[in-house]
């Protein structure tokens, strides 16, 4: 006999008895359980915020300590977490629904559109809601030597939210973790500092701390990475307003080693982020000299380099991200391919928090409740790889580039148009949608008559 929702009574009975067993399991978190979060970036903060919120709702008191020696309010590399600093429309909205409203002091620029630049022309794609829904932020205190202290670091703000929720932040570098009597013990400066009921590995791929987790011996290996190139350019504010507005400028150029590049305006700065293969110290200069980029950024415009780096990006997630009383999240686990690292930090930090608070902290608990979310991102990234391959084709072959521009221009000029290709491109680079869904929309596009009409137009124009 089926109850509401299509589940049988015996299913429900099984669920209740399983839940009762989970509550009495030695791996269930109890009042006063200790959680050590290694890494105070967004993943660590998201985990702490949501674990504490959920625990309060079910009348459980947890002791969460976040260990990170970094001061995120410092300018330059000292406080920076080396990232483009874009918070997607979906994440801005989801956080607002969760009660985390980004204050104006954290948002350096509200973004309402993307300008797509190719060798065959440029086109603007606006947010469907015509609002400033994307937030451009700095992970640290801002570019090196930043003047004024009127803006806050995103990582610092989030860490502050976790502390407000009840977590403790200790400025200590964790140097080793070992199991003692079945529970992980954290070491720093040669001494034991805490034995925890759960350790959350929320370390970034650019952090030296990742090494401590492979040494624990539960099979965790560091994720595979590629290098990105990031630079901070400073301009006069009028130049930013005139040349960049409230848009992220995205470049799809026929350069084999380059996947795509983005210029993100942030008050008097522009963050340049280049993704591709074999990027090196010259990649930024080579890119800025490219003719299409020169049209956006004429030589007459004066700018200064404030800082640059070649940070690592996670492109392949570790196979084993958990063990009894240990879970790896964010960049140390699975993250979204080439985009929306902060969105992935939210999803994975929260999935780990929900599992630990509602189910338990055993390997089995993480296998059943955390791994499906983890795996989803890995599978979704497969679709992402296909999409980036398609984007490569469109940017490398002039005919396809023209066709793509023709369609997007027509879609954007017609208010009634459902804007399918525009939304594919929007979602592809903004982190608004899963790669799988974008892929489904993208492959259904060639079936439409108007697209082939645009293709014919492109051919005629070319001749």
């Amino acid at each position: 006999m089926l109850s509401h929702g299509g589940r049988s009574k015996s299913d429900f009975a099984a669920y209740v008895s399983k839940q009762a067993l989970a509550d009495s399991s030695p791996y269930a978190l109890e009042d006063g359980s200790k959680i050590a979060v290694v890494g105070g970036g967004p993943t660590g903060s998201f985990f702490s915020i949501f674990a504490l919120k959920l625990a309060k709702m079910i009348d459980k008191e947890l002791n969460i300590t976040i260990y990170d020696p970094k001061n995120f309010s410092k300018d330059g590399p000292a406080g920076c977490n080396k990232c483009a600093g874009i918070i997607s429309e979906l994440l801005v909205q989801t956080l607002a629904v969760e009660g985390i409203n980004l204050p104006d002091s954290v948002v350096w620029k509200g973004i309402n559109s993307y300008q797509l630049h190719t060798t065959k022309g440029s086109v603007s794609i606006a947010t469907p809601s015509f609002e400033n829904t994307i937030a451009a932020v700095y992970r640290g205190g801002g570019p090196k030597g930043i003047i004024g202290e009127h803006k806050e670091s995103f990582d610092d703000f989030l860490l502050g939210q976790a502390v407000k929720e009840g977590a403790a932040h200790i400025s200590v570098k964790i140097e080793g973790i070992e199991y003692k009597n079945g529970k992980p013990v954290l070491f720093s400066q040669g001494g034991e500092i805490e034995q925890a009921d759960l350790v959350v590995g929320a370390v970034g791929v650019n952090s030296a701390k990742t090494g401590i987790f492979p040494d624990m011996g539960f099979g965790y290996e560091e994720p595979r990475t590629v290098k990105a190139a990031i630079a901070e350019l400073s301009f006069d504010e009028e130049i930013i307003t005139e040349h960049f507005g409230n848009s992220v400028h995205l470049f799809l150029l026929p350069i084999k080693s380059l996947k795509f590049a983005a210029m993100i305006p942030k008050e008097t700065y522009v963050t340049l982020c280049i993704l591709g293969h074999d990027l090196n110290a010259n990649s930024v200069k080579d890119f800025l000299d490219y003719p299409v980029v020169r049209e956006v950024l004429p030589k007459s415009l004066s700018y200064k380099f404030r800082c640059r780096c070649l940070p690592k990006m996670n492109v392949k997630a570790p196979k084993i991200p958990y063990a009894d009383r240990v879970v790896m999240c964010g960049d140390a686990g699975s993250t979204r391919l080439f985009k929306d690292g902060l969105g992935a930090a939210y999803i994975m930090g929260k999935a780990a928090a929900n599992t630990a608070v509602l189910h338990g902290v055993s390997k089995q608990d993480f296998q059943e409740h955390y791994y499906p979310v983890y795996k989803n991102i890995i599978v979704d990234n497969q679709f992402g790889s296909y999409l980036y391959f398609l984007a490569d084709l469109y940017k490398n072959y002039g005919l396809l580039t023209r066709w793509m521009l023709q369609i997007v221009q027509e879609e954007q000029s017609d208010p009634e148009d459902p804007k399918r290709l525009s939304s594919v491109l929007w979602n592809m680079f903004t982190g608004n949608e899963r790669f799988k869904n974008i892929f489904a929309t993208a492959v259904s596009l060639p079936m439409r008559f108007d697209l082939w009409k645009a293709f014919a137009k492109t051919l005629v124009r070319r001749r």
């Binding site: 949501f50 979906l90 607002a96 629904v97 104006d104 469907p128 609002e131 400033n132 829904t133």
Partner: protein
């Protein structure tokens, strides 16, 4: 809009959505205030004023019915809209996302339940003749203070059956502590109940009729409760300041007292009837015993 601002800016008085419209977007206030109001036969009624971080417009997303109220910006207000389709897709992946929305809905239900109970009590007091005299006096006094003339102190004094002294039946402000009793003709209130004429005294201390009590007052309005030409009580509103009230205030309060007198007389009649019935039943039961 400034550089670091998210959402859309609405200027003062701009309508975010109207009652009765179809809604597929929910909103979160980023800065400023939003007034939620409902249309009624006597004009717009403000239900609540929301501020930064508050969520609104969520009901239409879940019950698929038209907007139940209108939302209007109070001053410059910045609002972030949340698309229904995207929100539902997020809820599907992680149902705990809506805990804050449920919290908002739950506090709205609590607020409405409280308002509903208060309204029901008021309605009962107005319609039901079985309510007691003190409650009716308190209700009349509250209405006078909230909707007729604002004052620091106020009281209702009535002549009790067979007596010629005024007793305080309800009061607010410092007057709430007073146990004053006045004979007809004594003090300003006693004089008003004697003459049946409303009085405005803007320099109370210079008025020879004023009976100095523990309460320091500068100006006073006193209006009679009359029924069929007979005066049976007064309504006093007073302030520490002199020259606090105007002649218009007095006229308005006097008009109000005419209607209030009918309500009070009804309660007094009901009370007399109740006592009379109780007496008859008492006698009937005594006869029964014999």
């Amino acid at each position: 809009m400034k550089e670091g601002e998210l959402g859309r800016l609405y200027s003062h008085g701009e309508i975010i959505f109207k009652e009765g419209e179809k809604g597929d977007v929910m909103y979160v206030i980023q800065s400023g205030k939003v007034k939620i109001s409902k249309n009624s036969s006597s004009g717009d009624i403000t239900m609540v004023t929301l501020q930064r971080g508050d969520i609104f417009g969520e009901m239409a997303l879940f019950d698929k019915l038209p907007r139940s109220a209108s939302a209007v910006a109070e001053g410059d207000t910045r609002i972030l809209s949340i698309d229904k389709k995207k929100l539902f897709s997020t809820i599907w992946k992680d149902p705990t996302v809506v805990l804050k929305v449920i919290e908002t809905m739950s506090s709205t239900i609590r607020r409405l339940s409280k308002d509903f109970a208060e309204l029901k009590k008021k309605k009962q007091n107005m319609l039901c003749g079985t309510m007691d005299l003190e409650e009716t006096c308190s209700f009349i006094l509250e209405e006078a203070r909230e909707n007729i003339v604002a004052a620091e102190n106020g009281s209702i004094m009535l002549l009790e059956n067979g007596q010629d002294r005024l007793h305080i039946k309800a009061a607010f402000g410092e007057q709430a502590q007073e146990k004053l009793k006045l004979a007809v003709g004594e003090g300003v209130a006693g004089d008003v109940v004697g003459t049946g004429k409303a009085e405005l005294v803007n320099e109370v201390l210079t008025d020879s009729r004023y009976k100095i009590g523990s309460l320091e007052i500068g100006s006073l309005m006193c209006v009679p409760f009359k029924y069929q030409g007979k005066c049976f009580g007064v309504l006093n509103l007073s302030s520490r300041r002199g020259n606090r009230f105007t002649l218009d205030n007095l006229k308005l309060l006097n008009s109000f007292s005419r209607y209030a007198a009918i309500a009070l007389k009804n309660v007094l009649c009901m009370s007399d009837l109740k006592h009379a019935t109780e007496e008859v039943l008492k006698h009937a039961s005594i006869l029964d015993v014999y």
